[in-house]
Symmetry: C3
């Protein structure tokens, strides 16, 4: 949607340095921007690209404006400001309301008139789809589910059963919400399945990545609070609670019955074991895992970045001989 | 399904302390239970909730009965006993037998009369679906597959090709069984794909988690023995064999041609490298991986729980200076 | 497809030791091969099976031929040679060109006459499917995508939007290409979604595993170069570039904006952090992760293979006391 710099500045409350009549037609990186592109400078590592950008305008911090040869939109948080402006300049594609002839909606289900139900969608008994929501091709919504207003289920999503989703949720392809938790009781004859009878409660403004899975609770519900962001290929176990605005990066897992606080950040391939409590504002470094309750906000981790394999073989050998080194020090101390 | 405590006790061979006429209408946790709820006490960490529960009855060990103010069902294994009773009180939803008009079944495929084939299902040539099995919406079953009796493929499952599944299997959404193994031969011109021509054999009473993948064998079959439980987002490579009643938790991977014994347990984010043999009754701790044959039952692991990041930075620096520490000790010894 | 040993030898430029009239009807392992099987010997660990194989012929190195009691096809790279021959003997199943009645193709999409569009497929606006390509059941192709010639999308694949795929690509079930990257900007009110406006460019001869996800770029494109092989359940972040013929094994993740060189190999459960450059011919050992630029080809890693849990507990305790050990050595040095 073309929009003038003046309109952008007014709408988002930014100071504009430059011609308010310039029209923005798209977004681009500093390097690839052209006369109608909006771009941004947030990380100092891209600052060297600023003087030569051919963008129409750059969203940046006040202190970077003097090196900007084109129009500047000033913001304390240029990345977030760019994100909001880009959402306006390049909006999500519009869709026609209605239920595609090749969708199958149960007779007791209810779909808002302004929602779009794509080809190949199957919606189960007693489920409801809210106003302005988009349910993309191949998505399956089981029985007793609620999808709130303005949600987008992109394609091939599975909302299994007893899942309640708030407003403006985004669910990427292959995401599975409400699958059975991993509940098994050992007996001399092998495992007995523990029925998984709870649901999943998802707040507002939640985004769930491609092929991520969130299990239903065993008895009570699994809860994903509002504003949570979960990346691709993550696993959220049964009866987990994820606090507001927590973000979890790819290939991470939160084991059953664990509670994660608000505004936590889990890097990629991290984990939390089951049945622990993690307080607000905890950051977990990549490849690390939390093994017990965390009661103090802060950064936690324990991982070994890769080094040359020969060097690692030596380090590993030294590590394994630590016991004998300790004995040698003991001997020396005697 | 409402059932009296007397009936429950008789059917499962439990001692009942309390009124056999009390009717159970559902299950709940100790805390949320009401006058018609069945609940259980297994882990000592929940024992403090026992005296105040408002449940109709609690499944528990004999030694916990005296602190129980409501009816008690006595079991040596209360979690497994609860699981069985809950399966009776809250049975899986019933379904209508038949093939939905929006399913596509190949002419040479065969579907038992008592099976349910949901909307959006596609079944390939020469595949068969057993008695009482449920094939949920969006599921694709390729050619030459067998789904045994009383199986449940929840939704959007893919059974790719040459897969033989026993009775009572449960396959959660997004599970992929029989995808090509990762077989590539390097040449000066790049990778050549090694045709993956085997199948997958799945025993009885197997449960496979959401978005888990099990590759077909390269020449012979990949084998998942009876009673195996695999959680979400696990990867089982080609020609792997998983022994009876082994359980594998989320985000774990078993690399190609490895054999895992019976009753093993892999915690989350674990792995076994390819081409190894792991004996029965091996437990792998979270985040750890097996790098060679395991011939002795027991618990194995090697992982570092996260600590405060500053503390970790120091520990990592000390680890990297181990070589110089060893030299210093050598010097002292001279 | 039955073929004589003479024909095989001629077609692939192999020396044949044995009767050129012998007809090959299938492939098998050394152990299970019968009178019409082609098999191969590549790894020395299987050499003991060679003398007793009942195969029609074995593809092997010249130096192994003397121990072979049956016909031999000589190759310097028997695994790759077997792979090529197996592709001829056991070709992919043929399919009928055409669009199934239960597929939904947008009016502005274009499907080559020789392509097969299976039941349950949905193809979006302005997308094109090339000659001889197979789009399997349940696959969703969103708007503005190109699938090249001779591709195979097995089943339930999702090609989300703005994805351009070259020739001969193979996409296994559950793969998601072009999902939104994990772009979020923090504000005092929580996360703001950064619109993900780029696409994905996939070269020729790329194979993508089951349930693997490749995100679209934020502004510019994510790029998977020709000949790349990615296993199951891997995550490729936005704006990543993977160089030609690189192979990535299961459950691995490449974080956003990282560039991986050509012919790299990532073992299972590995990772690279975001915004780094990795040169050609880098091998990453299992469970390890790259934390910074890699400028020298070679093998990199840092992982601890599992050991007996009691032994690990001791090793971990010693590791944690390294600081005090260093102090004790300092004391001794004084």
């Amino acid at each position: 949607m073309p929009i003038s710099l003046g309109d952008l500045a007014t709408r988002f409350g930014c100071e504009l340095i430059g011609d308010p009549e310039t029209v923005i037609g798209g977004v681009a990186s500093l390097q690839t921007a052209n006369y109608e592109s909006l771009t941004f400078l947030s990380s100092p590592s891209y600052k060297s690209l600023l003087p030569s950008t051919k963008a129409a305008a750059v969203v940046l911090r006040a202190e970077d404006a003097k090196e900007c040869q084109v129009a500047a939109l000033i913001s304390d948080n240029p990345y977030a400001m760019y994100a909001r402006m880009a959402g306006l300049v390049c909006p999500e594609p519009v869709f026609e309301p209605g239920i595609h002839a090749a969708a199958v909606v149960a007779s007791s289900a209810s779909v808002a008139d302004s929602a779009h139900i794509a080809a190949g969608v199957v919606i189960g008994e007693r489920s409801t789809i809210g106003e302005g929501s988009y349910v993309g091709p191949g998505t399956v919504i089981g029985p007793d589910c609620t999808v709130g207003d303005q949600c987008r289920l992109i394609a091939n999503v599975t909302i299994v059963k007893r899942v309640k989703i708030g407003a403006r949720g985004i669910f990427h392809p292959g995401a599975v919400i409400g699958s059975d938790g991993f509940g098994n009781a050992m007996t001399p004859d092998g495992w007995v399945k523990v029925p998984q009878l709870g649901g999943v409660i998802v707040g507002d403004d939640v985004e769930i990545g491609a092929n991520t899975t969130i299990d239903c609770g065993a008895i009570e519900d699994t809860v994903i609070e509002s504003g949570v962001r979960i990346d691709n290929l993550c696993h959220i176990g049964h009866n987990v609670r994820i606090g507001e605005h927590t973000a979890i990066a790819g290939l991470s897992g939160i084991a059953g019955s664990t509670t994660i606080g608000k505004r936590c950040m889990f890097a990629g391939q991290t984990a939390a074991v089951g049945h622990i409590q993690v307080c607000d504002d905890v950051i977990v470094m990549g490849k690390s895992f939390l093994s017990k309750n965390v009661t103090v906000a802060g950064v936690y981790g324990a991982s070994f970045p890769a080094v040359n394999a020969k060097s690692w073989a030596k380090q590993l050998a030294r590590f394994r001989r630590l016991g004998s080194l300790i004995d040698r020090v003991k001997n020396l101390e005697r």
